[in-house]
């Protein structure tokens, strides 16, 4: 690993001051992705600003909004009593990702900031527009079994690897962000971005900004929910396709529904069309099938990931069915 300078602080103001002062610096919290990227030479910061001791580790339910500090560990969120009781889809999504060790280390903010696991992004001898703009995309026409089918561009077909983020996208979360000019709050679904012609940017966080935390409004999705993850082994593998499904069913009719997917796009992929189709309809297999089908209009595969065109609608139907049938 190329050496770097290191500094730590317990104060938000100092952290923001430092990141704005030093152009080649980067924040480190859990480090589970960043340290790996630095070992591989994919990322070579000159200075790390350790924010793991900043006071952003609270989980609180205030006025029907769940607030989660950005430095809360993934396992602390998944195991939290309020999260388990009121937002169990989030617990299920988090526990579908990584391993127990990594979930103890990884933070909420860090999980959001993790980079794609596209093998060409990790291999510094290969072209990759995300790692090195304008160098080309080796995944298009290469090994692209894990890659995106929605929202791709000619420059990048990588996917965002998080499970937690798929759950947060489904649950209408918001992201609180601090910067030199103060605070701002954006929708979680607007945090990550599609590659377009600037795939080097994973999200809309500006240089010098820091994620403060996540807010999730209360909902009625603690009965009929499911996080379905399809992967090459039964645990500890990235998703080929994953679906977060949440239903509020009254008398057989779907009064509210949320659907989001992982493993299919450069960002957690919210299924707005399917949601608006299902709202107010009966929770039947026929309706689930129709909802899944309409989402496939914009899908485009790249050879090795052609199977996702079939797997995605099946996964949507399966997740909705498991959510509906949850006792």
């Amino acid at each position: 690993m190329i050496n770097f300078r290191y500094i730590r602080t317990t104060a938000l103001k100092t952290a923001l001051g430092l990141i704005n002062k030093e152009k080649q610096s980067t924040f480190i919290a859990g480090g589970t992705n960043l340290v790996d990227l630095m070992k591989k030479g994919v990322t070579t910061p000159e200075k790390l600003i350790d924010i793991s001791n900043l006071p952003l580790k609270e989980i609180q339910l205030n006025n029907n909004v769940l607030q989660i500090g950005a430095l809360t560990s993934n396992s602390a969120v998944a195991e939290n009593a309020v999260v388990k009781a009121k937002f169990p889809l989030l617990t299920m999504a988090i526990n579908a990702g990584a391993s127990a060790q990594l979930r103890n280390m990884a933070t909420v903010g860090g999980n959001m900031m993790q980079r794609t696991r596209c093998p060409y992004f990790y291999d510094i001898t290969m072209p990759c527009n995300k790692r090195q703009p304008n160098s080309g995309c080796a995944a298009i026409g290469g090994f692209n079994r894990m890659h995106a089918i929605f929202g791709t561009s000619e420059t990048c077909i990588a996917v965002h690897p998080s499970d937690m983020c798929v759950g947060l996208a489904a649950l209408d979360a918001k992201v609180r962000i601090a910067g030199a000019k103060g605070e701002r709050t954006i929708n979680f679904t607007d945090f990550h971005r599609l590659p377009g012609d600037t795939p080097e940017k994973d999200n809309h966080l500006q240089k010098g900004e820091l994620i403060l935390g996540i807010e999730i409004p209360s909902n009625n999705f603690n009965k009929n929910f499911h996080y379905l993850k399809i992967r090459d082994r039964s645990s500890y593998a990235f998703a080929l396709v994953s679906v977060a499904a949440a239903l509020d069913i009254k008398g057989g009719i779907i009064t509210e529904v949320r659907l989001a997917m992982g493993g299919v796009a450069h960002k957690p992929w919210r299924l707005i069309q399917a949601e608006s189709f299902l709202k107010g309809k009966a929770a039947t297999k026929a309706n689930f099938e129709q909802a899944a089908k309409m989402e496939m209009n914009t899908a485009k595969s790249f050879g090795e990931n052609d199977f996702k065109l079939k797997m995605v609608p099946n996964a949507i139907i399966e997740a909705l069915t498991l959510a509906k049938d949850k006792a």
């Binding site: 730590r8 103890n104 280390m105 039964s234």
Partner: protein
């Protein structure tokens, strides 16, 4: 207490003076002596400009160390403290061979920078037994033949102890899921699960 702790050595005036006086000393030294001292001088340069202080406990023993920021907790344990029980498998957080406990929680030591563990208490496989008496999990791994080559075993055992402590060892399926971060290429999985289940059922806590 200042908000910023442990600012590493930069090119402060004091450092510059140290550096330049060292150069002066070198330029006045006969060539043979200089050659002999070359390596040591290099090391001292590295110390001056790159290492930062680190205080932590390993198996309840306090250490006051000086490390480069790029040193992982795994390399610190193995290379500097010579605690080689913790293994380096993939070095990328994919195999779990390096699993240790940091303040009681299991982590991958290969993905943790040592300097981020300031003030923490690290428990390694060397810290599990009390004297000659094995930890119940160590004894159960032997009883159930929970290994063949043994390379993943320290990580498996550290993970297994945490798995029970976290309350995730209530069935074989749950154990498999919560032990999935520890890969065993010999395939001793069924025996590992048996060992964990027995320790869990006996209610042996430590």
């Amino acid at each position: 207490m200042s908000e910023i702790e442990n600012e590493p050595h930069g090119d402060t005036r004091r450092e510059f003076l140290k550096k330049s006086s060292l150069f002066t000393a070198l330029s006045l030294t006969p060539l043979a002596v200089l050659k002999a001292a070359e390596n040591k001088v290099d090391e001292r340069f590295a110390e001056m400009f790159e290492k930062i202080p680190l205080n932590l406990k390993v198996n309840n023993k306090p250490y006051q160390l000086s490390v480069e920021p790029r040193v992982t907790l795994l390399d610190l344990l193995r290379e500097q403290l010579h605690l080689t029980g913790t293994k380096k498998g993939c070095d990328h957080g994919q195999c779990g061979a390096c699993t240790v406990h940091v303040d009681g929680q299991r982590v991958n030591a290969c993905l943790s920078l040592a300097v981020t563990n300031e003030g923490k208490n690290i428990t390694t496989i060397e810290g599990l037994a009390s004297g000659e008496e094995l930890h119940p999990m160590q004894a159960a791994f032997i009883k159930h033949d929970g290994f063949q080559c043994g390379y993943c075993t320290p990580g498996q055992i550290m993970s297994a102890v945490a798995c029970i402590r976290e309350g995730h060892a209530n069935s074989k399926d749950e154990i498999r899921e919560y032990m999935s971060g520890n890969i065993c290429r010999c395939g001793a999985y069924p025996n590992i699960v048996d060992a964990i289940q027995e320790v869990k059922e006996k209610g042996e806590k430590r």
